[in-house]
């Protein structure tokens, strides 16, 4: 009989004892151990092939670096493997549902990536002659038209680099409008609901405003009595910052009255557009009386979150604020498109410049690709499916978990921790969800709901995936209600056990340092 005629088929064999799950290498099956790049023997080496320098010329005039930058250089195979292995320690949308409320983790279409990499967009310089970048300027202008039309607003500032930067843009426009009215020194108070994203009060403070918090009512909306009381004195009011749909996943029913009240008080209405995905294509914020709103292209318009950016935060502006928009912006005349880069002449009322160049072009290409793909009909469907999916989750879980508010939600479902047994916290549910193969929901936000769990599925999840997710969360929620204290140790199945964040903050280690000599001797 030849060796290979039968092969060596494997068959499970019962063994008496459980094998130790620790390994010598630190790797476990497909999971590969990977040290820091500094823990390699590639110090003083490099992984790039560069032509030899001639070594003859210098016009440095003696301003040379004295100590060399000491960093290891890995070869390409080592580099690729390093990042490949590290990538496998990350959860991602492309792996599964990513229900972070208020973050809109939707599918990132691959066409958008391909388009952003066209050399005509990726390999052009922000300061090259404008005659040589007419296609790029046209694209920005086209995207601006889409954003203005979808929001029903007359103007948009394209340069803000992320959502919080867009907030800054809107609030600086308000500040500039107050300066032009001669009231910047007196109108300092900005009303911000207690449920707001932290960026709202932080932005207001960065613009020199004073934050005045307004409460929420029992329905999770702005407490109108509190608002009216806070507007009794009007001559110091600069404006209001309000998220709509709000961070409780609810539409502010009194939004038009809020707009009227703030305008009557002489202030402006900043709307945080983080949750635009719930209403895109169905409701135009311009019809609600707002003065400014940033749009997170990395939320509603699907540009990838990239592990924390880059984002992009174009900010639409009302007629009242449009003259104060930042530079640069694009104008079209008989010679084609051109950039207005200085806050003078055509932009003499502009509040100035916010960033190095013209905005997040790479994100603009992706967002326009997304918009063109969906069209007006598809975007309406996006909002409706996002809201339908969230309500489906709320309906399926409302008997085991505690919905924070009655009635339908918009694009995210909010629960409180009321249903949990004493001692079990929101964080325990979140970490147990990791063991079930899901990224946790947003936890402990908004602050107005105890032990908040905010779930935003987005429109790019199928019904089958929602059913699986609800099944997993339901089982975790039942364990939480029954005081299953094994939840406190979760996650058990992730690459790492629960990490000690308190220790990290006490004595921060923010970069790698070579091991001390005594430690080396001990090894």
């Amino acid at each position: 009989m030849s060796m290979n005629s039968q092969g060596r088929p494997s068959t499970p064999v019962a063994t008496g004892s459980q094998h130790d799950t620790e390994t010598v290498s630190g790797s476990k099956g497909l999971y590969q151990f990977e040290p820091l790049i500094f823990e390699t023997d590639r110090w003083g080496k490099t992984g790039v092939d560069l032509p030899k320098a001639k070594g003859t010329k210098s016009r440095l005039g003696g301003v040379e670096r004295t100590g060399k930058a000491e960093l290891p250089g890995l070869s390409e195979p080592e580099t690729v493997r390093h990042y490949m292995r590290l990538s496998q320690r990350n959860y991602a949308i492309d792996l599964g549902l990513f229900p972070l409320g208020s973050c809109t983790m939707k599918h990132n279409p691959r066409l958008n990536e391909k388009m952003a990499r066209l050399p005509g967009f990726a390999d052009i310089h922000p300061m090259q002659p404008q005659a040589s970048v007419q296609g790029a300027l046209e694209l920005i202008d086209e995207l601006a038209t889409w954003l203005k039309t979808l929001t029903g607003m007359p103007a948009v500032a394209m340069s803000p680099k992320a959502g919080a930067h867009g907030e800054l843009c809107g609030m600086l426009a308000i500040r500039q409008a107050l300066i032009s009215r001669g009231e910047a020194d007196t109108r300092k108070r900005v009303l911000v609901p207690a449920s707001a994203h932290g960026t709202n009060p932080a932005t207001a403070a960065q613009c020199g405003f004073i934050v005045d918090e307004i409460g929420a009512d029992k329905r999770g909306r702005v407490d109108m009595d509190d608002l009216r009381a806070k507007l009794e004195k009007t001559d110091d009011v600069a404006g209001i910052m309000l998220t709509n749909p709000n961070t409780c996943g609810l539409f502010e029913t009194d939004i038009k009255e809020i707009a009227d009240l703030i305008h009557e008080a002489g202030g402006y209405f900043y709307c945080d557009g983080a949750n635009f995905n719930a209403i895109v294509g169905r409701v135009r914020p311009g019809d609600l009386g707002i003065d400014a709103m940033h749009i997170n292209l990395h939320k509603t318009f699907s540009t990838p979150h990239g592990g924390g950016g880059p984002g992009s935060g174009p900010t639409v502006l009302s007629e009242a604020l449009a003259p104060f928009a930042p530079v640069p912006f694009i104008l079209k005349d008989e010679d084609g498109f051109r950039l207005v880069e200085e806050a003078e002449e055509e932009a003499k009322e502009s509040f100035g410049r916010m960033a190095s160049f013209h905005g997040q072009m790479g994100m603009f290409v992706r967002a326009l690709s997304y918009m063109l793909s969906h069209g007006a009909d598809g975007l309406k469907q996006v909002a409706e499916d996002a809201v339908l999916n969230a309500n489906y989750i709320q309906a399926k879980l409302k008997t085991v978990m505690t919905p924070a508010f009655d009635g339908f939600c918009m694009h995210e479902a909010l629960f409180s921790d009321k249903f949990t047994a004493e001692g079990i916290e929101t964080i325990d549910i979140a970490k147990a969800l990791i063991d079930e193969g899901y990224h946790p929901m947003t936890m402990y936000f908004p602050l107005v709901v105890h032990g908040a769990m905010l779930i935003e599925p987005t429109e790019t999840e199928s019904k089958a995936e929602l059913d699986r997710f609800c099944g997993a969360l339901e089982s975790v929620a039942r364990r939480a209600a029954q005081d299953d204290d094994t939840l406190k140790g979760a996650p058990y199945l992730a690459p790492m056990k629960r990490l000690d964040e308190t220790h990290a903050a006490r004595k921060p280690v923010l970069k790698w340092a070579p091991p001390a000599p005594e430690q080396l001797a001990a090894e």
Partner: protein
């Protein structure tokens, strides 16, 4: 719609499970006058992948790319080679399609790369600590100014005459909104050391740049000394990160805060964004820093891991008392930066810097030989300013007509400095070939003759 998995049947099933008649039930809180009867008017309906690709490709083809021509544009963004493996790394779904690493047990990939990024940035700037990135160079600079005011409890900053005007404008904007006085020194090709004489007891910080917007490199140690004598901080700015491989870095000049643009390493030109702001400081100032910081810790079993840390500085905890309003930063661009630095290592960065410098020296030699050209930058890395005996805009248009993208006319950055209206700033990098340089010199010769 290819990106929407729900079928009509699913939708009907789900509505009945919810107990709603139609999706309209979910929108009853919207004021009636704001409910659109149909789709948003004035926009086209959906299109197939091919149609979208064709349209965008056509737009892209209307632009002249940096690889299509002899290309010499700098002033804050630089045409460098990005190794093919970098794009592969940042297109890994686990990096591309994940969120800020708030759940560290399932985000160690992102967190470890950020820890490595911070270590690399600290090392090349010769500073103690670096954060996990900012939006871009200009916004980093603005944040450094307000951070210095916070740290010193003073309300005045002084900007050098060589600080990139876009950085100066962004800094002025944020400072003035917070009631901080900004003193701008007059535009100067070689004037960074003037900062030393401009610092007084009210000054929170002085901000100088090397290489500056005209390409001039300066040992700003005297500026740091003068600032420290008055208990002010010195903020050191760079727009060309590759220069750190060869030129005196902020930490060797006594900088308290180092900020700059990281685009040059690992990132494409992208018409100005997304880029990656670098932000480093001394250990003493760490709790005043803006943005994310990644730190080392252990898990429940004592294994080393990484988490976002010192978040009590940040907006989601501290709200209106936060050090900055920044939330999303430039995560994926930072990944591209760190992956490229991982390939380069300290040696590769140095070698790359030398190539850049030699290309710029060759370019300067060639242009200097053209009749009428005067090089104005006394010491430079890979970028310098030169004067032509004609309007710079016309000279650049003439060059463009000859397939040479010759640089930036200084009047685009300083519209009111008439004596700079015939000055051009040009840059060379490792991508610049001897043929490009020859093409530039001969085209310029033609134009000036």
């Amino acid at each position: 719609m290819r990106y929407l998995p729900l079928t009509q049947e699913d939708r009907a099933d789900m509505l009945s499970a919810i107990g709603a008649n139609s999706v309209d039930d979910f929108y009853t809180d919207v004021p009636e006058s704001a409910r659109l009867p149909g789709t948003v008017p004035g926009l086209p309906d959906h299109q197939g992948e091919f149609a979208v690709e064709r349209y965008l490709t056509k737009l892209a083809s209307k632009n002249v790319t940096a690889s299509d021509s002899a290309f010499f544009v700098g002033c804050g963004a630089y045409k460098h080679h990005v190794p093919a493996s970098i794009d592969m790394v940042i297109q890994r779904s686990e990096f591309l399609t994940t969120y800020t690493p708030y759940q560290p047990e399932i985000a160690q990939g992102t967190l470890q790369t950020l820890f490595e990024f911070q270590t690399q940035v600290a090392e090349i700037t010769a500073m103690d600590v670096a954060n996990a990135s900012m939006y871009d160079g200009a916004t980093s600079c603005a944040e450094a100014a307000v951070m210095a005011c916070r740290a010193t409890r003073r309300k005045k900053v002084v900007l050098s005459g060589g600080l990139h005007p876009h950085y100066a404008a962004s800094t002025k904007l944020l400072c003035e909104a917070q009631g901080i006085e900004v003193v701008q020194l007059p535009a100067a090709i070689d004037g960074e050391l003037e900062l030393a004489g401009a610092v007084d007891d009210a000054t929170a910080c002085v901000i100088g740049q090397s290489p500056n917007v005209f390409g001039t490199i300066t040992d700003m140690t005297p500026v740091a000394d003068a600032a420290h004598e008055k208990k002010a901080l010195f903020v050191s700015v760079f727009t060309e990160a590759v220069s750190l491989g060869l030129v005196k870095p902020p930490g060797e000049m006594g900088a308290d805060i180092a900020v700059g643009e990281g685009q040059s390493i690992g990132n494409s030109l992208n018409f100005g964004g997304p880029y990656v702001g670098l932000f480093a400081a001394t250990q003493k100032l760490v709790r005043q820093m803006p943005g994310r910081l990644c730190g080392e810790t252990t898990d429940a079993e004592g294994k080393r891991g990484f988490v976002l840390t010192l978040s009590t500085r940040e907006q989601h905890i501290r709200r209106d008392k936060a050090t900055s309003n920044i939330c999303t930063n430039s995560g994926l661009c930072a990944l591209a930066f760190t992956a490229h630095m991982t390939l380069l290592g300290g040696k590769g960065l140095h070698d790359l810097a030398v190539l850049n410098h030699e290309a710029a020296c060759d370019l300067a030699d060639a242009l200097e030989a053209v009749n009428g050209v005067e090089i104005l930058t006394p010491r430079f890395f890979n970028e310098f300013a030169f004067r032509v005996p004609m309007n710079a805009a016309d000279a650049l248009q003439g060059l463009l007509d000859r397939d040479v993208v010759g640089g930036v006319r200084v009047s685009r950055l300083y519209p009111h400095e008439d004596e700079l209206s015939n000055v051009i700033v040009c840059a060379a990098t490792e991508c610049t070939t001897p043929e490009d340089i020859a093409a530039y010199a001969s085209a310029l010769k033609e134009i000036l003759s």
